[in-house]
């Protein structure tokens, strides 16, 4: 990765930092945020366009590719972005290194658990289990 004289501040920190990841975490939070603008507005609009919010209407909607796939992407992206954001909050307020790492670990496990449950539920709706 080029870090020449003309490098921007972001270019200079990429690959560096205490975690060795430098600006990648910062960038990933931005990438997921842009995706979430589209996916979350899709979710709100899609729910508003359904005739009702009954279980049968919603499971029918989520069993079609254009319902299930954006929903799966929304779940993955939202959990990733939420995890990134909460880790930054922890970094700002938890100063003791051991507690900071433990908090990151807990948040990561919770995000993986929540995303896995959501995706499994979505898959069982989509494949009619």
């Amino acid at each position: 990765m080029s870090r020449g004289k003309s490098a921007t501040p972001l270019a200079k920190v990429r690959g560096l930092g205490a975690s060795g990841h430098g600006g990648e975490h910062w960038l990933a939070e931005r990438f997921t945020s842009v995706a979430l603008v589209l996916l979350s507005i899709w979710l709100v609009a899609a729910l508003l366009m359904l005739p009702d919010l009954s279980q049968s209407t919603l499971t029918n909607f989520l069993s079609r590719p254009l319902g299930a796939v954006p929903m799966a992407l929304f779940v993955i992206t939202a959990f990733l972005h939420g995890l990134h954001g909460l880790k930054v909050v922890v970094d700002d307020y938890v100063h003791e290194e051991g507690n900071r790492i433990a908090s990151h670990y807990f948040l990561t496990m919770a995000a993986i658990a929540g995303a896995s449950l959501s995706l499994f539920a979505l898959a069982s709706i989509a494949f009619g289990a």
């Binding site: 205490a18 931005r30 945020s33 842009v34 603008v37 979350s40 507005i41 709100v44 729910l47 508003l48 359904l50 009702d52 919010l53 279980q55 919603l58 499971t59 989520l62 779940v75 939202a78 959990f79 939420g82 995890l83 954001g85 909460l86 909050v89 970094d91 100063h95 290194e97 900071r100 929540g114 449950l117 959501s118 499994f120 539920a121 979505l122 069982s124 709706i125 289990a129």
Partner: protein, 131 residues
């Protein structure tokens, strides 16, 4: 991150005059934490209830339609729009634009107004659809 008390410290929050940019900054963090902790928990419950039996979904629907549930959902709808608009503002700030004092203040206020308007629009559209 070890604390190094000898290091020069930046001026603390207390010396600055409170302004809309500071409100939007802390609201972005509060709404983000709320959307993640409460919003994603409810999203998971909703999807699991949808995939399960009729009784499970009826319990979710009862909780969502209960006055307490409606207040929480209303709060989450507001948090969603506030975080979305202040997040868009942050993306502009990230590329180095919008730091002029008047511009910065104007768009900070606009995120609050836009979020309030969209919250009411969204909530009334959803309530209309339920009835």
């Amino acid at each position: 991150m070890t604390s190094r008390p000898d290091r020069p410290l930046s001026p603390h929050l207390g010396i600055y005059t409170w302004g809309p940019h500071m409100l939007v900054s802390i609201l972005h963090r509060i709404t983000g934490a709320g959307l993640t902790l409460a919003g994603l928990a409810i999203l998971t419950w909703w999807l699991m209830a949808l995939s399960g039996d009729k009784e499970g979904y009826e319990l979710f629907a009862f909780a969502a339609g209960h006055p307490v549930g409606l207040v929480i959902l209303f709060g989450l709808v507001w948090a969603f729009w506030q975080h979305l608009f202040s997040g868009l503002r942050h993306l502009v700030l990230d590329i180095g634009a919008g730091y002029e004092l008047k511009t910065n203040k104007f768009w900070a206020v606009m995120t609050i107004i836009a979020a309030a308007v969209m919250t009411l629009v969204t909530f009334f559209l959803f309530m209309g659809g339920v009835e």
